[in-house]
């Protein structure tokens, strides 16, 4: 079972100073665009930000991977063409 990209809000706020869940991401697999909040997020345990995988709701392609280690975070976006980040 998955939750949605809203669950990335806290972990991504450790890295970025604007909210990334409202950003529109385009999938590198199928081209579908939608908010990061709408991605399907799978983790190894509920609430643990140690490892999270976010998949496209359209084609299941992995769009974002986030791993939080004790001293650094790894953010893998190879499945995302672009992120349109609102800066209002």
């Amino acid at each position: 079972m998955h939750v949605d990209g809203n669950a990335l809000a806290g972990p991504l706020s450790e890295i970025f100073t604007v909210d990334m869940t409202a950003a529109q991401g385009q999938c590198a697999g199928c081209g579908q665009a939608g908010p990061v909040a709408g991605l399907h997020v799978y983790g190894d345990a509920p609430g643990h930000a140690m490892g999270m995988v976010a998949r496209c709701p359209g084609c299941d392609n992995v769009m974002l991977r986030l791993v939080r280690g004790p001293e650094a975070a790894w953010l893998d976006l190879r499945g995302t063409v672009s992120l349109r980040i609102p800066l209002g």
Partner: protein, 240 residues
């Protein structure tokens, strides 16, 4: 909303209220809290004496204070502590507010449909309270699906008539006496009669367990709602 990087803050529990036999509302004092929007959430972190630490996300239930309503999950790691052990005066670590997508602003002009499954009512209640606090005239419709009448959160508050806020209850396991709808999961007919029609172009907010949210989002799309106006928040099968 640019801001600094998110940091953990110390929150002190200052008030507790039982909502149901297994859920309670916790009010925290958080020095330096920057304020938040209805629909946003916080991360809560607990650290054991041996250094083991775990965190969970909880929606804020009110727009003007750091208040959470937590459902006890029987085999959970965090919720039993928050619902049974934590006492006023105790402290924990909390960070937020986070999330800028599943939010409602009182400046919103479109009618609003809120659809809650179980504890998914929490961020939607924050939106109803934000509307009230702002003296807003935006018409709201809430469909609240709960297992049984005594599992509803905020029952006295939602029972009070509020102009412009229309509430429909659905029960999945047990119904009050004389209730005509048999217990059962939400159907497209329930959504059709309890929500604003698609031609009113309402903003729709759906929150609940993953299966509930996916089913309701599909129903809204089938009823002609623009997917871009449907905002969802799934909290997964357990929450913990």
């Amino acid at each position: 909303m640019p801001r600094g990087r998110l940091e953990w803050r110390i929150a002190e529990l200052i008030q507790v209220k039982d909502e149901t036999p297994t859920a309670r509302t916790l009010l925290f004092d958080v020095p330096g809290w920057p304020g938040h929007l209805a629909g946003q959430h916080v991360d809560v972190r607990l650290t054991a004496d041996d250094g083991y630490s775990t965190q969970r996300s909880y929606s804020l239930s009110a727009p003007d204070r750091v208040e959470l309503t937590v459902q006890k999950v029987a085999d959970g790691e965090v919720s039993p502590y928050l619902t049974e052990v934590l006492e006023t005066g105790d402290k924990l670590e909390l960070r937020g507010p986070v999330g800028g997508w599943f939010v409602w602003r009182p400046t919103g002009k479109a009618p609003v449909t809120l659809i809650a499954g179980g504890s998914g009512i929490v961020p939607l209640m924050a939106m109803i309270r934000a509307r009230r606090e702002a003296g807003g005239a935006t018409p709201f419709k809430l469909i609240y699906s709960a297992r049984a009448p005594d599992e509803r959160y905020y029952a006295p508050e939602l029972r009070r008539p509020e102009p412009g806020v229309d509430v429909t209850y659905l029960y999945t396991r047990a119904v009050p006496e004389g209730w005509t709808r048999p217990p059962g999961r939400i159907t497209v007919a329930d959504v059709n009669s309890g929500a604003w029609p698609a031609e009113f172009e309402p903003d729709c907010f759906v929150c609940g367990p993953t299966g509930f949210v996916e089913a309701v989002a599909d129903m809204l799309v089938a009823l002609g709602h623009d997917p871009r106006r449907i905002k969802t928040e799934r909290f997964g099968p357990t929450g913990g």
